[in-house]
């Protein structure tokens, strides 16, 4: 046990160091953009040759620090360090801790690599690596079949997105190999780097007549992002990913990895460029997901899954913002969301740590024994609900305003805007439903959970720090340097800066929705009691639909387990009995024929003489009739 904790502290120390470096780099970039020069290693190089790559072809691995990666770097390293610290207390009773810390550290490495990647391929490499870390960590409690299953599901569903991402990369690499300013040799020759400029690289240089291809490529990128960021219809894996330790949920499945999809969209939007069709698709997916996921959170009894649905929903907001052309706004929400969502998870983890269950209906009254946690959860909830001045308000409000500002030129955004707007209400409702269920009332509804207490200081410190960030991170928007950091990103020009010019009506409406959501939660759940919805209620089918997650999970499982597996069984049957059966059929026929043939050796010499005479007659037939015919047909030998 001593040894394991020592190992944990090593990870804490290193992630702490990483946080220091990460924040220094991030702030350094903020203060003085372009400080950090790139380091590159050429991974594969094809010399110039006729064909698709007349000027050659390079795939490189390198680093790129620019404002958005600086921002992400701060998020990753800060949340990473805090979660690592929290883990010391939270995980100390678990087995397999070396594996836990190793995998978590590997995740942080890969995530930093992803953030710093300077081209799509490198991005993809780290993208897959964070995916596999996520796979390992979801399946950390691998003895539990549900955890093992969830890990697999997460990997496969994101893999579906990944292949779209990969195809997107092919499209960019092949079809835009020559894109670039005159004399630069084209994009392929330069290693497909993300290039800073006044506008997205491909929109500026490579588009030509290929806007269809660019659209398709953008859709593919969206597919990849949807897989990673659990957007509709690839959202199913994230709630199940809650099988992992809560720390993992906080770090990977709330703050960082799931945000990589949004980050990818932002990167693509800023460096490569989307067409307006792409944008509509992205806004549509994001807006719909924001609402769709929120509805499922409304009824769920599991505290972590409620937060997970909320994550999906919030990611939907970010996607929508990027789609509408406000990549920086989306990233800002990503930034604040990382803190308050990590906070919510860690607070939930604190509760789970204390009571040993995730079922909200068994909890209750915990605010008395876990005051700090209750406050932290409340702070996170307020931030999530978009109540000023908490962090979530600023960023979410920016998103709504930004999308709203585009409605005039893009009327097709309207329905998605409304869905996202409605989701604000749901968000506030479900998160406070969770709060009331867990913390209000007199005592836990399940009597066995009576001995709840706060965790050790390693758990409390991160809660406090994250609470502070959840309160204050949004206020960074008033720091001029930060604002300019966000505005200095490539492609920022041409997009109306929305900071500070927030549409007040939108703000007021969203705050009102948030408050009314909280109020409804209070009315329904504020006294700590639980009401059973009557079986005959008209709402029952809706509740069941929501609890069944709109049957998506069941449907996907059916496709996987029944559909594909049945095909596989059928193919196996075909393989064994038709393909192999044909071979065996030949074998049997051969044995049959040769056994008959064998009988001609009767042992009686007269028979042999008869064969000779028969052979002679056959020879005459061949020589006089068959062979001349064959020869005349073949025209000689």
């Amino acid at each position: 046990m001593r040894r394991l904790e020592w190992g944990g502290w090593v990870s804490v120390a290193f992630s702490g160091a990483a946080m220091v470096v990460g924040v220094l780099i991030g702030v350094g970039e903020m203060v003085n953009p372009g400080t950090y020069t790139d380091v590159r290693y050429t991974w594969l190089h094809l010399a110039p040759a006729p064909g698709p790559f007349p000027n050659g072809f390079s795939l490189v691995v390198g680093t790129l620090v620019d404002p958005i990666s600086a921002l992400m770097l701060i998020v990753v390293t800060v949340v990473g360090f805090l979660v690592m610290l929290y883990s010391i207390g939270y995980m100390h009773q678990d087995r397999g801790l070396p594996r836990y810390y190793a995998e978590l550290s590997l995740f942080l490495t890969a995530m930093s690599g992803l953030v710093l990647a300077d081209n799509l391929l490198e991005f993809f490499v780290f993208w897959e690596l964070v995916g596999v870390c996520s796979y390992f960590l979801i399946g950390f409690y691998y003895e539990k079949p549900s955890a093992a299953s969830a890990a697999k599901e997460a990997f496969i569903v994101t893999r579906v997105g990944d292949i779209m991402f990969l195809l997107g990369i092919f499209l960019y690499f092949y079809n835009f190999a020559l894109a670039g300013p005159a004399g630069s040799g084209g994009w392929a020759a330069n290693g497909f780097l993300f290039v800073n400029g006044n506008q997205p690289y491909l929109l500026g240089h490579g588009l030509g007549g290929n806007s269809t291809l660019l659209t398709v490529a953008g859709i593919m990128i969206l597919g990849g992002a949807a897989g990673k960021s659990a957007q509709f219809p690839l959202h199913v894996w994230l709630p199940d990913a809650m099988e992992g330790p809560t720390t993992v949920s906080a770090l990977i499945h709330a703050a960082t990895m799931v945000a990589a999809g949004v980050y990818l969209l932002a990167v693509a939007s800023l460096f490569l460029g989307f067409t307006s069709t792409d944008q509509l698709a992205i806004v549509g997916i994001g807006g719909f997901t924001a609402f769709f996921a929120a509805t499922m959170a409304v009824v769920h009894p599991d505290i972590k899954r409620v937060i997970a649905y909320s994550t999906i929903s919030q990611l939907g907001y970010m996607v929508m913002a990027v789609g509408a052309g406000f990549a920086m706004v989306g990233l800002f929400h990503l930034f604040t969301h990382a803190f308050f969502k990590a906070l919510l998870f860690l607070a939930a983890g604190s509760v789970i740590h204390a009571v040993g269950t995730q079922d909200l209906f068994k909890m209750g009254g915990l605010r008395k024994t876990m005051r700090l946690t209750a406050i932290a959860f409340a702070v996170g909830g307020l931030a999530l609900a978009g109540i000023p001045p908490f962090a979530g308000f600023w960023s979410k409000d920016d998103i709504l305003s930004a999308v709203y500002s585009q409605l005039g030129s893009h009327p097709a955004y309207w329905p998605f805007f409304l869905l996202a707007f409605a989701a604000v209400f749901l968000t506030a409702y479900y998160i406070f439903r969770a709060w009331f269920l867990a913390f209000s009332g007199d005592h836990p509804r399940d009597p066995s959970l009576g001995h709840a207490h706060e965790g050790p200081w390693t758990m409390q410190v991160p809660l406090v720090l994250l609470s502070a960030l959840a309160c204050g991170a949004g206020l960074l928007i008033f720091v001029p340097g930060f604002q300019s950091l966000l505005l200095s990103g490539a492609g920022a020009t041409g997009i109306p800066p929305v900071y500070g010019t927030t549409d007040l009506l939108i703000s007021a409406a969203s705050v009102a929705l948030g408050v009314s959501g909280i109020a409804l939660a209070w009315v329904l759940w504020g006294n700590g009691r639980v009401y059973a919805l009557p079986e005959t209620s008209a709402a029952q089918p809706v509740r069941r639909l929501l609890l069944k997650r709109y049957y998506f999970k069941i449907g996907y499982d059916w496709i996987g387990a029944k559909g594909v597996y049945t095909i596989a069984r059928a193919a196996d049957f075909f393989d064994r009995f038709v393909i192999d059966g044909t071979v065996h059929g030949f074998e049997r026929a051969f044995a049959l024929v040769s056994n008959r043939l064998r009988r001609i050796q009767s042992g009686v010499v007269s028979d042999y003489a008869a064969y000779v005479v028969a052979g002679l007659i056959a020879l005459f037939v061949i020589l006089l009739i068959v062979a001349p015919y064959v020869v005349s047909r073949l025209g000689g030998g």
Partner: protein, 491 residues
């Protein structure tokens, strides 16, 4: 100039003979041979890129070329001609690595070890010969020399159905090599090549009419394709793998399948460009079917070895696809994939062998939750599976990425077929891991213990290569592209 290739041939021949005669010390002889072999391969690499005799008149287009007359009569000139280029060199490296891993893995082989190690060395010797031979007869000689030891490895050291499996392996590959031989002879005689040498045929075969080229290409494709194996001539592979001893499976998957691909590249694609061009649609169809079939069938397998075997069909389908693209990027991808699949499938077959030793069965539903009992084995299975499903930073990824990119370059949206299959591939590996490695412990005998040191060491060697070339694929790429026959850009 030292005739390095002949020195290696002599080393391997002497080592093989000595191993057969060494009795109980056979493993040491085998190991010593392997280490000398590795050192000599290192010497081959050391001279890169300024290889001796590169592009010489004797064996144009190849390094370390040697040529001696063997049979010379009026109408038939057979030479002992050898040489390497980037493509063969990479596969020679694979041969040496897998030989080392196999010898180490089988360290405690109890059943007639001298014969076992001798046959292992003979197989690798044959593979090495195939990769350096530049004469039709010499090539065929080595080609067949691989077949026989493998037949015995399966037939004597194999599982319960070994006779059937060995026979099936033999029938399929032997019939295929006959068709291949006819194709090669036709190549020589129809083109009027001055000798059986690769370079002589290379000089004359291009003059053949496109129809003739197509027929010959088809014959060669069938001959080499069965070794790939291509659907529907693949059913020997799962049976052979399931019944073969682990060492046999490793060599079978790691090397023998590569012989088919290498043969196709060297003796069909390079010599019959317009044949390839005409037959391209056929190759595409076969490749796509193999990719889909291998992957889908893996999904339904219960036996771990069978699963990996079918996944080999899938991977080799991608190799075929990459070759069929007829582009330099595709060829590069094919060779990378061959190397990657050689290492990774070897790792997975070793892992399934260890599963069998440890738990007495390879039936996936029968064993579960093995990770606490055998953490090392479990980790190795994970690394192998993840590498096989194409995780970046492991060796398959650069290969598959290049292959798919090349496919996109040539076939555009058809790339969806292998791409979607990537999901299925991930699916069956993950499902296997879920059922075997994770979940509550199930069917684990009380005597189960983690892998012995030699098995672990063998797999560790492969893992090292998996990671090394996964992170630095450029090392391989630079060598592969040093193959002037292909006109790779930059050579």
């Amino acid at each position: 100039m030292i005739p390095l290739l002949s020195v290696i041939v002599a080393t391997l021949a002497a080592g093989t003979v000595l191993t057969f005669l060494a009795g109980s010390r056979a493993r040491w002889v085998a190991l010593a041979t392997t280490i000398v072999f590795l050192a000599e391969v290192a010497a081959l690499f050391a001279a890169f890129p300024g290889w001796p005799g590169y592009n010489s008149a004797l064996v144009p287009g190849f390094a370390d070329g040697e040529s001696y007359s063997w049979i010379s009569i009026a109408w038939m000139h057979v030479n002992y001609t050898v040489g390497v280029d980037g493509i063969s060199l990479v596969l020679i490296l694979l041969t040496a690595v897998l030989q080392l891993a196999t010898v180490v893995y089988s360290w405690e082989e109890q059943k007639r070890p001298a014969a076992y190690f001798g046959l292992v060395l003979l197989t690798c010797f044959g593979c090495f010969g195939v990769f350096i031979a530049l004469d039709v007869l010499l090539f065929f000689l080595f080609w067949e020399a691989v077949l026989i030891p493998m037949f015995f490895l399966i037939g004597y050291w194999g599982g319960p159905q070994r006779r059937y499996a060995a026979l099936k392996f033999f029938v399929y590959t032997h019939v295929a090599s006959i068709v291949m031989l006819v194709g090669m002879l036709a190549l020589v005689f129809y083109s009027g090549a001055a000798s059986f040498d690769f370079s002589a045929i290379y000089a004359s075969a291009r003059g053949l009419s496109s129809v003739l080229q197509s027929f010959m290409f088809l014959a060669l494709f069938f001959g080499f394709g069965v070794k790939f194996p291509i659907v529907p001539f693949h059913t020997w592979l799962p049976d052979a793998h399931v019944e073969a001893p682990t060492g046999g499976s490793v060599l079978l998957a790691g090397l023998l399948l590569k012989l088919g691909a290498y043969g196709l590249i060297r003796w069909a694609v390079e010599l019959l460009p317009s044949g390839l061009h005409t037959m391209q649609p056929v190759l595409y169809v076969v490749a796509f079917v193999s990719i889909i079939w291998g992957s889908v069938l893996s999904l339904s397998q219960r036996d771990m070895k069978r699963l990996v075997a079918y996944s080999s069909i899938n991977h080799m389908g991608i190799v075929l696809l990459a070759i069929a693209l007829d582009s330099s990027l595709g060829l590069l991808a094919a060779v990378l994939l061959m190397f990657a699949h050689g290492i990774v499938s070897a790792l997975l077959f070793m892992a399934s062998g260890s599963v069998h030793h440890t738990f007495g069965t390879r039936d996936i539903p029968a064993v579960g939750g093995i990770t606490p009992t055998t953490p090392t084995l479990s980790t190795l299975i994970m690394v192998g599976s993840l590498a096989s499903l194409g995780l970046p930073a492991l060796i398959s990824f650069p290969a598959e990425f290049t292959a798919l990119l090349a496919t996109w370059n040539t076939l555009a949206y058809w790339v969806f077929v292998p791409l979607i299959i990537l999901v299925v591939t991930a699916g069956f590996y993950l499902w296997m891991m879920q059922r075997m490695l994770f979940g509550p412990a199930r069917g684990i005998p009380s005597t189960a213990h983690d892998v012995p040191w030699y098995e672990g060491a063998a797999m560790a060697i492969l893992v090292a290569f998996t990671v090394l070339f996964g992170i630095l694929p450029g090392l391989l790429v630079n060598v592969i592209m040093n193959s002037p026959i292909h006109g790779f850009p930059g050579t």
